[in-house]
Structure formats: structure tokens, C-alpha cells
């Protein structure tokens, strides 16, 4: 039984509910997000609209406040966990309803590195933005990346590293792509705490992405550029 003053999500109109879901996502309330997603679906919202208007809209606010130093990693993780709950409901429905696909990304943490929080956030935000994401997990060799890129016919390679000692492996992967003559076939995005713009340029990546929101915007921009040049 709800206490007096509790918000009953099902009693809110659509606009109020989406606004409340933004707040619940911000506060990392997974069960409330799952309930909100189910209510919107029952109201015949398209799964893609629930994803973009409610979940991604909310995570965009979380991302902006993280960037501005208002929110910190623990809060972002809780929000991401809440979004994951919503995504779990939506994912099979998105596949059934043929939601638009912006592009396909293969993503993974580099060899020698087991850190996956940043990578997971990027993967989730990319999915939210309409990209198909193939997550290779942690500790990936150059062969694992290249096999996946070919097998999945991907547009984008995303590499993540948290350690100063493992980030140089990104160059090994890019150099191998150059040797094999396939570098120009893919957009290469890199990220991770010890990386910076200079490092991204030095190793020959297309872009360094400082956070998940930047990764999404950069990926969209590069995919559009690639399509434009292909059509020119």
C-alpha cells in the first residue's frame, strides 16, 4: 500500500509520467523506471518512443550533470542500472517493431584491462541512440576486435581503457588495421579515464570521446559524414 504523498505513476498523464521518469532515472530508481516503461507501453507508445523520449531523455540530463560536475560516478551508475531495467523490457520489442538503426558498433575494453563501467555506459547510450551494439566485453586482443568488425559488418569500432599501461594497446589495434588495409572502412572511437584528445590523435583514432554522451554525438556525426561521402 502506498503512503500518503507517494506518486502513483499510473495516475499521471503521459507528459507528467515522462517527467517523473526523468526524475526517477536521475535518482536511480530501477523498479519505478520499469513500471513507467510498462505503463507507457500499455498506453500504446511505440517502444522506440519510450526509449528515446523517456529513457534517453532522462539519461541525457544525467550525462549533462555528470559532465558539469553535479553528479558523480556512483549516481551515474545507479541511473544506468535503472535505464538497464527499462532497456531489458524494451529490447525484444524494439527488435520486433523494426526501430530505426543508425549504425552498428563493436565495442570492447582492450587487452590487459578488465574495467568495463565506461564501456557499458557508452554501449547503453549508443543503443538508446539507435545504434546496434556488439559488446565484446573486457580484455580484447587485436584479433578479437578485427574478427568482430568483419563478422558483424560494423561501422564503428569503440575501444576503452582505464589504465595508462593498457591504453597503448589501442595503437596496436589501429596499426594492425592500417597494415591490413581496413582502417578506412571503420570509424574508430576511443575513450577511458587516462586518455585525452592528444592521445586519440597520436594513435590515429578518429576521435577521443570524454564521456558516453560525447561518444553518441561523435558517432552520429561520423556516421552521417561517412554516409554523405559515400553518397557524394
Amino acid at each position: 500500500m502506498s503512503e500518503e504523498g507517494d506518486i502513483i505513476l499510473s495516475e499521471l498523464d503521459d507528459e507528467e509520467l515522462v517527467q517523473q521518469m526523468f526524475d526517477d532515472l536521475y535518482d536511480g530508481l530501477k523498479e519505478e523506471i520499469e513500471e513507467g516503461v510498462n505503463i507507457l507501453l500499455e498506453r500504446n507508445w511505440a517502444p522506440y518512443d519510450v526509449l528515446t523520449k523517456a529513457l534517453v531523455g532522462g539519461m541525457t540530463i544525467v550525462g549533462a550533470d555528470f559532465r558539469d560536475g553535479i553528479l558523480f560516478v556512483p549516481e551515474v551508475l545507479l541511473a544506468a542500472n535503472a535505464m538497464k531495467g527499462g532497456m531489458f523490457i524494451l529490447k525484444p520489442l524494439l527488435a520486433e517493431t523494426g526501430a530505426p538503426r543508425v549504425g552498428k558498433m563493436v565495442i570492447g575494453t582492450v587487452k590487459g584491462d578488465i574495467h568495463d563501467i565506461g564501456k557499458n555506459l557508452v554501449g547503453m547510450m549508443m543503443e538508446g541512440a539507435g545504434f546496434e551494439v556488439v559488446d565484446l566485453g573486457i580484455n580484447n586482443s587485436v584479433d578479437a576486435y578485427l574478427e568482430a568488425l568483419e563478422k558483424e559488418d560494423a561501422d564503428i569500432l569503440g575501444m576503452s581503457a582505464l589504465l595508462t599501461t593498457t591504453m597503448p594497446y589501442m595503437k596496436v589495434v589501429i596499426d594492425t588495421m592500417i597494415e591490413q588495409g581496413i582502417r578506412e572502412n571503420y570509424i574508430v572511437l576511443v575513450g577511458g579515464a587516462p586518455l585525452n584528445e592528444e592521445f586519440g590523435k597520436a594513435i590515429g583514432a578518429d576521435a577521443y570521446c570524454r564521456d558516453a554522451a560525447v561518444a553518441v554525438e561523435t558517432a552520429k556525426e561520423w556516421v552521417a559524414r561517412k554516409h554523405n561521402s559515400a553518397n557524394a
Partner: protein
């Protein structure tokens, strides 16, 4: 000298008086170790000042802070040595030191130079699921691990952070049974196996000895 870990974490260690010819600008997490080495070896030609150890949590602050400290003190000393390794600066600290004409400790981080950079480089590939703590980090475990990761408020996040780790290695700089006990408790709190590995001061001593 009375040192407070809390103060070393948040404020660092100010330079009290100029006595030596060489200034060591160090991470606050190394203050006790460097003071111990100075006293044990009679290195009176060195003075020490430390930047806040909590820059460990915000590595992007380290390079600028080192630059400012070098600029502040360089006219008072014959030489300045930076007692930091790369420490998550992604090569920016090394580049700044080269530009400023000062030396720093080789290696990626203190876990590496305490163990000895060569040995760490040989073994680290087999230890990618290892989480390291030093004496300082064991003493300051709550301030440097639990609180910044939000585990005090949200213990359910533990496996998101540490789910891929298997073992906690306590790199002991000193023989302190109480600290070892605390390190073991840290491992239990993170759900990791525990190993104590005595390192002493490793390459920190080697680097300072050459000055």
C-alpha cells in the same frame, strides 16, 4: 614530525623551511615513505612538499598542480624532482616535466614503482584481475575507495566496480600487523581474495637515492 593522513589526502604537505638544495614535489600518498627514507639515509640535501593525495582521484589535476608548484619553488632550489609516476595523466605529466626540465619517477603508478617497475611490467599481464593497495591506501581506504565510489551509500554497486576483479594485493611498504589486518578486511569488504606482498619502497628509494 606529526603527519595526518587526512591532511595529506586533502591538503598535501606544505614546505615548512628551506634547508636542502633539492626539492621533492611529491604526491601526499608518498609523504611518510619519503620522510622515512630521508631520515633513514640522512638525505638532508632534500626538502619535501606534497600535493594533496586525493588528486589520485582526479588525475587531470596533477599536471597543472605540479606545474604551479615547480613555478613557485624553482628559484629557491638547485634542482626539483617530481615524486609522481604517470599516475593516470596519460603522459601529460611526463611531457610537462620534460618541458620544465625536471625529472620524475619512471613507471605508470606507485603500485608499479613500489614493486619495482621491471618486475611489475613482467608480472602485471598475469595479474589483470588484481586490485592493489599500498600502506597509505589501506590507511585511507574509506576516503579513497569506499566513499568516492559511493559504496558507503550504495553497497549494491560493489560488483559493478569489482565484479571483474579476483584478488586484492596489499603491497606493504612496512611490516605492520595492524595494517595487514586492515588490508585483509578491505579485501573482504570488496569480496576479493587477499595477498600481502612486501615491497618496501622499491624504485622510490632507487629514484631518490640518485639525487
Amino acid at each position: 614530525m606529526s603527519l595526518s593522513d587526512t591532511q595529506l589526502a586533502s591538503e598535501g604537505l606544505p614546505l615548512t623551511s628551506k634547508q636542502g638544495k633539492i626539492l621533492i614535489i611529491a604526491c601526499g600518498a608518498l609523504a611518510r615513505e619519503i620522510i622515512d627514507l630521508k631520515q633513514a639515509n640522512g638525505w638532508t640535501h632534500m626538502d619535501l612538499t606534497c600535493l594533496p593525495a586525493n588528486y589520485h582521484l582526479f588525475p587531470d589535476k596533477i599536471t597543472d598542480a605540479v606545474r604551479q608548484s615547480v613555478a613557485k619553488h624553482r628559484h629557491d632550489y638547485d634542482d626539483i624532482f617530481i615524486a609522481y609516476a604517470d599516475c593516470g595523466t596519460g603522459g601529460l605529466l611526463q611531457a610537462a616535466c620534460a618541458e620544465l626540465g625536471v625529472q620524475m619517477i619512471a613507471g605508470p603508478h606507485c603500485y608499479s614503482f613500489f614493486e619495482g617497475n621491471d618486475r611489475f611490467a613482467e608480472t602485471s599481464a598475469d595479474e589483470i584481475t588484481t586490485f592493489y593497495l599500498t600502506d597509505f591506501l589501506v590507511r585511507q581506504f574509506d576516503a579513497f575507495v569506499i566513499k568516492p565510489m559511493g559504496l558507503d551509500r550504495h553497497p549494491e554497486l560493489r560488483d559493478m566496480y569489482f565484479g571483474n576483479y579476483e584478488k586484492l594485493v596489499y603491497q606493504a611498504q612496512t611490516d605492520d600487523p595492524a595494517l595487514t589486518q586492515k588490508a585483509q578486511t578491505c579485501a573482504e569488504r570488496l569480496g576479493l581474495a587477499f595477498e600481502r606482498r612486501y615491497t618496501g619502497y622499491g624504485d622510490l628509494k632507487t629514484a631518490l637515492k640518485q639525487l
